[in-house]
Symmetry: C2
Subunit: 151 residues, 2 copies
């Protein structure tokens, strides 16, 4: 029913995001790309673990891409752990030390540094989990029933 | 990237489920088909509202389909409200009165009778919402990246 998008049709950040989503699956985390947190703030990937742990992973394809990001600290209040995902050519010395790190490509990724744990407050976790659930189901429906009225 | 499945390729219950998912979208509920609750118990549709309300909707395409269902009361402990979805030819007198009812077809549906409200306990709601979130995201990833390793 569906054709896979070839890697050559994806932007560098999307290639990283695809491989990172696979790496997260290997770690038993289910992830959603482009998760909206509030107006003008979207996470490249948000992931949920089986105990409800919430991770955010920002994918940076280049030094310029990282330098242009003025808002990464804004993500910290929306997750228990915050990671970067970069490719193997990325100058990782640029990245702040108090964050987690994956090295990824279009096919997978590996955790290089665990992220510090800053546990979300229960009410915030409930809100984020519900938003994640609704956004995921809505997008799945849009893909499976693109003719749906009002979607 | 995706072709819609023609209605003629869907089983009667799937046709109802497609229209019901559209009806739920109209009511601002996001739904997931075939949601597994526990071994040997799946909901035809589970839906989440913006305050975290959880509905289950079972789609019955015929009298025989309804009569074969010995386990519908097992769904009640997994939702705040329980509904049937049937087509306009269904003998609705068969349905228990203390349940909600939609009349649906492949294109939409209408609520005929609101379901009684039995509020879930907070811990159960958290578990169901998390399971719904993870299942939705995992299926979306399977559709968007069918070549994903380990999916």
């Amino acid at each position: 029913m569906m054709m896979q998008t070839p890697l050559s049709d994806l932007a560098p950040g999307q290639i990283l995001a695809r491989g990172m989503a696979r790496a997260l699956s290997d770690l038993r985390y289910d992830s959603l790309p482009e998760m909206k947190l509030r107006p003008r703030l979207r996470a490249d990937l948000m992931a949920l673990g089986h105990k409800g742990e919430i991770w955010i992973i920002e994918c940076k394809s280049s030094r310029a891409d990282f330098r242009a990001d003025k808002k990464w600290q804004g993500y910290l209040e929306w997750c228990d752990r915050y990671f970067w995902a970069v490719d193997s050519d990325f100058p990782t010395d640029l990245l702040p030390e108090e964050t987690g790190l994956f090295i990824a490509d279009g096919y997978g990724g590996e955790m290089i540094r665990e992220a510090p744990f800053h546990k979300l407050a229960p009410a915030r976790r409930r809100t984020i989990t519900l938003d994640f659930a609704r956004a995921s189901a809505r997008r799945l429906q849009q893909v499976c029933d693109p003719g749906g009225v009002g979607l």
